[in-house]
Amino acid sequence: MNSDLIVFLVLSLVAIATALGMVFSRNAVYSALFLVLNFVTVAVFYLLLGAPFIAMSQITVYAGAIMVLFLFVIMLLGAENLPPSKALPWQRPLAFILALVLAVESVYLIISRAQSDGSITAPDASINTVENLREMAMTLFGQYLLPFEVTSILLLVAMVGAIVLTKQEKEG
C-alpha cells in the first residue's frame, strides 16, 4: 500500500464522516461547520488530482463565501433547530432506504463499467502548477469565453434578484 492510497483513504473517511455529520446534526450551525470541513477535504482531493486552481476556488468561494452566507442566514433567522413536531413518521426511514438503493446502484454501475472497458487509469498529478494555471486560463478565456460571459450575467441577475427579494417595501 503506497502513501498516496493511505492519504486518499484517510481523507475520504474524513469526507464521508463530515458529510454524514452534516446530514445527521440536530443543529443547523453544526451542519454548516461540518460542510465547511467537507469542502476543505474535497479541495485537498483536487490538489491530489492536479487541479490547484479549482482547489483554491473551492476554498475561497465555497468554504469561504457561500458557507459564511449560510451561517449568517442560519443565525439571522435563529433556525438552528426546527421544533420536532409533526414530523412524518415514514420520511426518515424512506429517505434512508432510497439513499441505500441509490448508493448500491451507483457503485454497481461504476464497478461494472470499470470492468467492461478496463481503460480507467491512474490520474497524473505531476503537473507544473504555473503551467497548469496558464493552460487553464487559455482554455477558459479562449474556447469557453462565451459561457464565461454568460456566467457573469447569471451572477449579476442573481445579485439583483437577491436584492429585489429582500428589499424593504416603502410604505405608501
Partner: protein
Amino acid sequence: MVPVDYYIVLSAFLFTIGAMGVLAHRNPLIIFMSIELMLNAANLAFVAFASVHKTFDGQIFVFFVIAVAAAEVAVGLALIVEIFKSRRNIDVDEMNSLKG
C-alpha cells in the same frame, strides 16, 4: 497513484449522502446544504475524469458549477429569508403556497 475509480466511488457516496439529506430533512437550509454537497460530489467526479483524460474541460465545468451554485445560494437564501419574514416559520412541510 490512486486509481480514478476510487474517486468516482467516493463521489457517488457523497452524492448519495446529499440526496439522503434532501429527502430526510424539513429545514430548507439543510436541504440547501445537501444540494451543495451533491454539486460538490459531481465536481469531484469532473476533476477526476479531467485528470484521467489530461484535459482542462472538466476543471472548466467545475468552475461553472461553482458559479451557478453561488448564484443559486444567493437567490435561494434570499427567498428563505423572505418566507421567514412573512410566515415566521421555514418548515418545508408547512409550505403550500408561494403567496405571502
